[in-house]
Amino acid sequence: MNRRDLILGGATLAAASPILAPTARAAWQPTRPVELVAHNGPGSGPDVFARAIVTTIEQEKLSPVRFQVSNRVGGGGATAMNYVVDKRGDPGVLSVWTSLWISLPLVQAEARSTVADMTPVARLVIEPAMVVVRADSPFTTMKDLIEAARQKPGTIRQSGGSVTARDNIVRQLLMAATGTRWAFISFPAGSERIAALLGGHVELMIAEPTEAGEQIRAGKLRALAQVGEKRLAAFPDVPTLREAGMPIADVPQARGFVAPPGIPAEALAFYEDLFARLVVSPTWRKYVIDNQFEEAHLNASQTGAFFSEYQGRLRTILQEGGVKVVR
């Protein structure tokens, strides 16, 4: 496969598709570069995501001004959240939000800013995940796994991130739905979680397809189920949790953009329109496919509704799982 051909192909498509100039669409437009906040350092998930947005906006000529990534690191994300809230009324700032933005204020008393204080702009993608075991594991279906957990409670071990992360939330839901119990072991880095599984030190993990895909292709890991509403194109034979007989609520891990509170309605309309055009552009579609994301665009008001619904659901799940919730 030649990457350059793909890019050239993408560029030709972009040139052919009739994208209207922003002036024809919105009454307001930015006159100086827009600051795009990422809550982690260069190379981290939100940073890479923000830079992909900048690249797409530039390649598709979606904005009259440049977008610049600024890394506001610290506080486990709280620094960036406080920054957005403190920029009240400033239409020149946008920030990436991830599921962390919803869970962090629930468990951290210090994280005073919540997404409810900000202006929702858009949800863009959902990150799918898969329940994976080692290829030589005795478990070939979710049912096998649950049965084993039922017979020897607490002996099966899952590697994952922090207790507020999606992998633990899904575990809590699965345990509650099936009346079983297994252990959750936190590792700070994704590579350590996979290494623990590959080395046979834990029995399962909920991994992102980009993390686990190559291991599955190499015959080292096996996927039991997909965490999501529908099957991924790359894994057509792996059932979703619901198809595998696990009737649990969907816990989408999503990403999108927010703006500071109190920005002018015209500015919000401009950004809403920008993201609506961005998600249908060929550059963005290729990015979504390459990174095995699920396209999940919501407009501003839908994103706001998503925030409040998701936060409520997360609060209940965390409380039931014994995590101290402060808000």
Partner: protein, 497 residues
């Protein structure tokens, strides 16, 4: 043989004029990034990543890994000359490197650092070339109980690193362990010792502590000692600017020690290069015939950690290239770069993209040689910094530390914390407390706590898991041996003194 034909193919790729250029550019940029405190290789690679979009994947990875290796070379420069660690991996180099500079051997220390980097870096790459698949299997056998044992081995080095008073060394270690516990607990998502401050939720950055306790405290101490009119002695003759034969001979074991320790620790995805350099330094001191001279400017004290942090780079590429598992921030970005170029890192990469794999490996040999050639002539030049009168140099040093501290998180509060750590280091020096144990505790505390909690969850609370696995049992025995032997040596020395 497989390796030979692979390398042949690799050198074919790496020796293409364009790729030689990219390799040189990466090494050059990496050296600069390494010299500047606060700006690390991970951030640099992330910022340069968009420029590599149109490049061939082999050229791209050759340039980016040049930055990765170059930063390790450059990191020692400010450690030695100014007592400011340029990178986390060069913190340990301050201990003896800066003292050598103060004794007029700054050029020699820089030369030793470059040679140790080259020797151990090459060892790491050779080991990567011939041992990668079996060593990757070893890395997977290493899990939380083994990490606990490794950190315990590191912690046992406190008796070696501490000064005359064991009690003071242990107190210093405890302060380090406490400082590293500040922040959010991974296992419960609860805050510890943050006192409601958002800036503390993610914990304190290691570089902030190291720069404060070494560089800022060092300046305060020199002012106290009224050194303001004295110049650091810098001999004029060229041969005095490079290491002498005797100094290089003293480093024989350090080269080997740094190479082996650095590579092994590097292979493990859960242990960073600052741990590698600490363990190599501690081991060097433990087996030395004159451990009491460590910390006063011995060449082995520079060679061991500098070697280790370079061999670590080769080791860290093993899990990245054979399993698709990055061991740290920089390798994580190299991984996302590979994905962006359409290469799929993972167990099949060696088969699917041999030109990338072998091109990279071959370019590392070339890059390492380039870095040595690039760095040795710079030694006499950099050493001239020591001619600057202290009343000019100290404000510059403080300025650099402030810029470095601020740029870690673009936060003014970091400057306040930097000043705090500077005062802490100064107070410790006045009261004759060694600072190395504090840094050791800060580096090891967090991974050690994590490892023991992970291990106990794995075993459902059965502590035997820490002792019953062969690898971890071996390392715990080593830790006990270090403790017993150095304590014995300590008490034998005392009556005669």
């Amino acid at each position: 043989m497989d390796v030979i034909s692979g390398l042949q193919q690799g050198f074919g790729v790496a020796l293409m004029p364009m790729n030689l250029f990219w390799c040189f550019l990466g090494c050059f940029l990496g050296t600069i990034v390494g010299v500047l405190p606060g700006l690390g290789p991970a951030a640099t690679i992330a910022m340069l990543l968009p420029l590599t979009f149109g490049m061939d994947p082999a050229s791209g990875i050759i340039m980016l890994s040049g930055i990765y290796f170059g930063a390790k070379y450059g990191g020692s420069t400010t450690s030695i000359l100014l007592n400011i660690p340029g990178e986390a991996s060069s913190v340990v180099t301050c201990l003896d490197g800066y003292q050598m500079a103060r004794k007029g051997r700054g050029g020699a220390a820089l030369g030793i650092a470059a040679i140790a980097s080259f020797v151990a870096g090459t060892f790491g790459i050779v080991a990567l070339t011939v041992l990668a698949p079996p060593v990757a299997g070893f890395a997977l056998r290493f899990s939380s109980p083994e990490y606990f044992a490794l950190m315990a081995l590191g912690l046992s080095l406190v008796v070696v690193l501490g000064g005359d008073s064991l009690l003071k060394a242990i107190l210093s270690l405890l302060v380090g362990l406490w400082l590293t516990s500040i922040g959010t607990d991974l296992f419960t998502s609860q805050s510890r010792y943050t006192f409601g401050a958002v800036a503390l939720i993610s914990g304190i950055d290691f570089m902030l502590v190291a720069i404060g306790v070494f560089a800022v405290a060092g300046v305060l101490e020199s002012i106290h000692a009224k050194e303001e009119t004295k110049l650091l002695p810098v001999p004029r003759e060229m041969r005095n600017l490079l290491p002498s034969w005797a100094e290089l001979r003293a480093c024989r074991f350090a080269f080997l020690n740094g190479s082996v320790v650095g590579f092994i620790v590097g292979v493990l995805p859960g242990a960073g290069s600052s741990i590698a350099s600490f363990i190599a330094y501690g081991l060097e001191k433990a087996v030395s015939r004159h451990p009491e001279r460590f910390g006063t400017g011995v060449p082995e004290g520079v060679a061991a950690p500098e070697g280790a942090n370079n061999a670590d780079s080769g080791g860290a590429l093993v899990p990245l290239l054979t399993l698709g598992l990055p061991g740290g921030g920089t390798t994580a970005i190299l991984l996302s770069a590979l994905v962006l170029w359409g290469v799929k890192p993972g167990p099949l990469m060696m088969q699917d993209s041999p030109q990338v794999f072998w091109g990279l490996v071959a370019s590392l040999y070339i890059g390492n040689a380039m870095l040595l050639i690039l760095n040795l002539p710079l030694v006499p030049l950099f050493a001239q910094i020591l001619r600057i009168p202290l009343f000019v140099l100290f404000p510059v040093v403080l300025g650099l530390t402030i810029v470095g501290a601020y740029s870690i998180a673009d936060s003014a509060l970091n400057i306040v914390m930097l000043a705090g750590f500077g005062l802490l280091g100064y107070a410790m020096a006045r009261l004759d407390f060694p600072t190395a144990p504090l840094i050791l505790g800060f580096v090891l505390g967090d991974p050690m706590e994590r490892a023991v909690r992970q291990a106990l969850t794995m075993s459902q609370g059965d502590i035997a898991i820490l002792f019953s696995r062969p690898l971890s049992a071996t390392m715990l025995v080593c830790a006990a041996a270090v403790l017993v032997l150095s304590l014995a040596a300590r008490f034998r020395r005392r009556p005669s003194a």
